[in-house]
């Protein structure tokens, strides 16, 4: 007899998986940022509230500055009754102008604000011309 095993098959693992919150898709928001140019380069500020240094990844690839940060799951107990939930993290990609030396940048994260300082490339730095 030809028996079709339709009964008691192992349920599809995907549909019976029990997953932790870590498996849900991450909501990465684009953070607020601003940049100021000055004689010696540019300063960038990026708002990253709730982010610790260990959760921040900053990379320079050529003229691209890439930032990805996780905001640890510190959501308070209970249900959200007002407002939008905080993002799970942040992602930002900026292009640095040709005169900026991305490889020489410095960054500092304090109280949820990232401050990046990008100097000018040597060739673009102000030079004093001696008048003979």
């Amino acid at each position: 007899m030809n028996e079709e095993t339709t009964c008691c098959e192992t349920p599809d693992t995907e549909n019976t998986a029990i997953t932790t919150r870590d498996d849900r898709p991450r909501r990465l928001a684009e953070p607020a940022w601003n940049a100021t140019r000055h004689d010696h380069g540019a300063d960038i500020e990026v708002a990253l509230p709730g982010v610790r240094k260990e959760d921040l990844k900053l990379e320079v690839r050529g003229s691209r500055l890439a930032l990805e940060a996780r905001r640890p799951d510190q959501a308070p107990a209970g249900r959200l009754i007002h407002g939008e939930p905080a993002p799970d993290g942040y992602r930002l990609e900026l292009r640095l102008g040709n005169a900026l030396d991305g490889s020489a940048l410095s960054a500092r994260l304090e109280s949820g604000l990232l401050k990046v300082s990008v100097p000018l490339v040597k060739a673009a730095q102000p030079k004093r011309i001696e008048i003979a």
Partner: protein, 118 residues
């Protein structure tokens, strides 16, 4: 947030917060735009992001049954607390640029309440 007089002291207004906010009181709101409010059995937790702000630039006060927040000496927020909040137990933490304010519920509001049987 300015709450209409007839709504004070009747319902636990903080759980109606979202509904009241949507009901055309937007124009007179004096709470931060990104305020998040969570409610659990024992109270409410308010969160606001203040990246780049130093702890000593924030001043939080409970006065006249209202929560008052001053930021960097100029921006002011105000939230009336109604009659469900244990105002003496209000606490706050500021870390990583996030301000978290805890508003405990008055004992009578706490879900699990042991009743002595005489």
């Amino acid at each position: 947030m300015i709450l209409a007089q007839h709504l004070r002291n009747t319902s636990p207004w903080l759980s109606d917060f979202g509904r009241l906010f949507d009901a055309a009181l937007r124009g007179v709101v004096t709470t931060p735009a990104d305020l998040r409010v969570h409610e659990d059995d024992d109270g409410w937790t308010l969160e606001v992001d203040f990246p780049g702000v130093a702890r000593d630039e924030l001043a939080l006060e409970v006065k006249d049954n209202g929560l008052h927040l001053r930021v960097k000496d100029d921006t002011r927020y105000h939230l009336p607390l109604g009659d469900k909040v244990d105002t003496a137990g209000v606490s706050a933490r500021f870390e990583l640029g996030v301000l978290k304010i805890r508003l405990p519920k008055l004992d009578a509001q706490v879900a699990s309440h042991h009743i002595e049987i005489q």
